[in-house]
C-alpha cells in the first residue's frame, strides 16, 4: 500500500498532523498504533486544553480530534508498525502483515509508561502492579494502594485512586513534587492521601499462588535504609519514555531517547521524515504542544512533498 504521507500515532500530534495534511490535499494515511488515542485515553479530566471552559474528558477530546481528521479525509487504519525502514524509500511493516510505503512520514508515536525495572514488578503485573489507575482502580475499593512518582500523572492517579481506595500512599524519591501547584494543593488537602518522601521502591512483595501484591520495601534515598509497607496494589507513575524502538538505530536521538529534530522544525536527518509530540519533545509533553508540533510536521511535510526547501538538522556530534 503506497501513500504520499503516512502518519504514525493517534494522539494529539498524529491527529493534528492528519487534519492539516488532509486539508492540504495530501490524503494522509494514519496508523493508530497499539493504543488508539494514545495517553489521553487513560486520563480523566483535562483542564488545560484551550477552548474548553469546563473540564473535559481526555478520551472525548481525542475522539473529537479523530472525527475531525476523518471528516477532513484522513484514512485511519488500526495497525501496529513492527518494522520500519527509512533508507532507500520509506517502508513500514504492520502487525497485520501489510507493507506500507510512503513519500513522507510523520512519526507521532508518543511515549510509553515507564516502569521501575524490578523483576518483582514484572512478576506481579496483573496481580496488583499497574500503570493505569483509571483501568484498575476498580479492584481497590476499601483497600490500600501505593502510587510511585512525583509528577502530574502520579498526583492525578493518587487523587483518582483516593476516590476508591481507603488509603493512598504516594512514594517519591525527593522532598518536593514536580506536579503543577493546583494538583499538589488538592493532594495535600486530601484526607486519604499521605506522602512517603525520600523513598524509592526497592522491592514489591506478595504471595506466589496466586501472584498478588501484599507490600513494598522502600529504600530511603538519603541513607539507604529499608522499611516495609503493607499495600494491596502498586501504581507506577514515574513518567514516560519516548516510543522510538522502531527508529532508534536509524535516526539520531537526544539524551533521554527522544528523536532529534532541526531547531524550530520537526524535520529529522532523513529527508521526508518528521517527528512530532512526545516522541521528540523532551521539554513540554503537553497535549497542546503535541498538537502544535503535529501541525508543524504536516506543514513541513507539505513543503517537502511540493519540492520546497526545508532546513534539515546536522547530525549531532554525539548522539
Amino acid at each position: 500500500m503506497h501513500r504520499k504521507l503516512i502518519i504514525l500515532g493517534s494522539g494529539p500530534a498524529g491527529y493534528t498532523a492528519a487534519i492539516y495534511a488532509a486539508r492540504a490535499g495530501l490524503e494522509p494515511l494514519l496508523l493508530t498504533g497499539l493504543e488508539p488515542g494514545g495517553q489521553l485515553t487513560i486520563t480523566t479530566d483535562v483542564e488545560n486544553y484551550p477552548g474548553f471552559a469546563d473540564p473535559i474528558q481526555g478520551p472525548w477530546l481525542v475522539e473529537q480530534m479523530r472525527d475531525q481528521a476523518l471528516r477532513m479525509g484522513t484514512e485511519v487504519v488500526t495497525d501496529i508498525v513492527t518494522e520500519a525502514q527509512l533508507k532507500d524509500g520509506l517502508r513500514l511493516t504492520g502487525d497485520s502483515g501489510t507493507v506500507y510505503t510512503a513519500d513522507a512520514l510523520i512519526i507521532a508515536t508518543g511515549a510509553k509508561a515507564r516502569w521501575l525495572g524490578l523483576p518483582s514488578e514484572t512478576a506481579f503485573q496483573g496481580g496488583g502492579v499497574s500503570a493505569c489507575a483509571t483501568c484498575d482502580g476498580f479492584f481497590y475499593r476499601g483497600r490500600t494502594v501505593v502510587v510511585v512518582g512525583g509528577g502530574n500523572t502520579a498526583v492525578e492517579e493518587a487523587l483518582f485512586l483516593a476516590g476508591i481506595a481507603d488509603r493512598v500512599i504516594l512514594v517519591h524519591r525527593r522532598d518536593s513534587l514536580r506536579a503543577e501547584k493546583v494538583l499538589q494543593d488538592r493532594l495535600f488537602a486530601h484526607p486519604k492521601i499521605e506522602v512517603e518522601w525520600h523513598a524509592e521502591v526497592a522491592e514489591i512483595t506478595g504471595t506466589d499462588m496466586p501472584k498478588v501484591v501484599t507490600g513494598v520495601t522502600l529504600r530511603d534515598t538519603r541513607d539507604g535504609s529499608l522499611r516495609t509497607l503493607e499495600t494491596d496494589g502498586v501504581f507506577v507513575a514515574i513518567g514516560h519514555s519516548p516510543a522510538t524502538e522502531l527508529f532508534g538505530d536509524q535516526l539520531p536521538l537526544k539524551p533521554g531517547g527522544y528523536l532529534q529534530t532541526a531547531p524550530d522544525s520537526t524535520a529529522t536527518v532523513v529527508p521526508g521524515v518528521f517527528a512530532a509530540g512526545d516522541v521528540t519533545d523532551d521539554q513540554f509533553r503537553q497535549a497542546v504542544t503535541a498538537a502544535g508540533q503535529g501541525c508543524m510536521a504536516a506543514l513541513e511535510a507539505d513543503r517537502y512533498l511540493a519540492g520546497l526547501p526545508l532546513e534539515i538538522p546536522a547530525e549531532p556530534a554525539s548522539a
Binding site: L34, E35, P36, G37, T41, I42, P59, T78, I80, T82, D95, S96, Q125, G126, G127, G128, S130, C132, T134, C135, D136, F138, F139, P210, K211, V212, G233
Partner: protein, 107 residues
C-alpha cells in the same frame, strides 16, 4: 460484538465451560477501561480466525465481579487462556494481535 465471542456472566459461565472443546479463552474487561475497548476489535478478530481452535468469551467485570474475583483478576484488560478447565496463560494489558494468537496456539 461478534457471534464468535460469548458474553459470559455468572448465569452461563458453567455452560460455557462445559461446551465442547479443550481450549477456552476469556477476555475480562470494563466499559470505563479504554485499553479494554481498544482491545475488543482485535480480540473479536482473533476469535473469528481461531474459532476452530478454541471457544472465546468475554466477561464485563462490573456485571460479574465474582468471576473476576475467582480468577484473581486485578487488572483489565486481561485475557485468560484455559485448557481442560484450568488457566494456563494470562495476557495482561493491551498487546498486539499476534501475541493473543500465539497464546491460544500454545494451549
Amino acid at each position: 460484538m461478534t457471534q464468535d465471542v460469548t458474553t459470559i456472566d455468572a448465569s452461563n459461565f458453567n455452560d460455557f465451560m462445559n461446551e465442547p472443546g479443550q481450549v477456552k479463552v476469556l477476555r475480562f474487561w470494563a466499559t470505563w477501561c479504554r485499553p479494554c475497548i481498544a482491545l475488543e476489535p482485535t480480540y473479536n478478530e482473533v476469535a473469528t480466525e481461531m474459532k476452530d481452535t478454541a471457544r472465546f468469551g468475554e466477561i464485563d467485570i462490573d456485571i460479574a465481579p465474582e468471576l473476576a474475583g475467582s480468577f484473581g483478576i486485578r487488572s483489565v484488560p486481561t485475557v485468560v487462556v484455559l485448557k481442560d478447565g484450568l488457566p494456563i496463560d494470562m495476557v495482561v494489558g493491551l498487546n498486539p494481535k499476534s501475541q493473543y494468537i500465539q497464546a491460544v496456539k500454545a494451549a
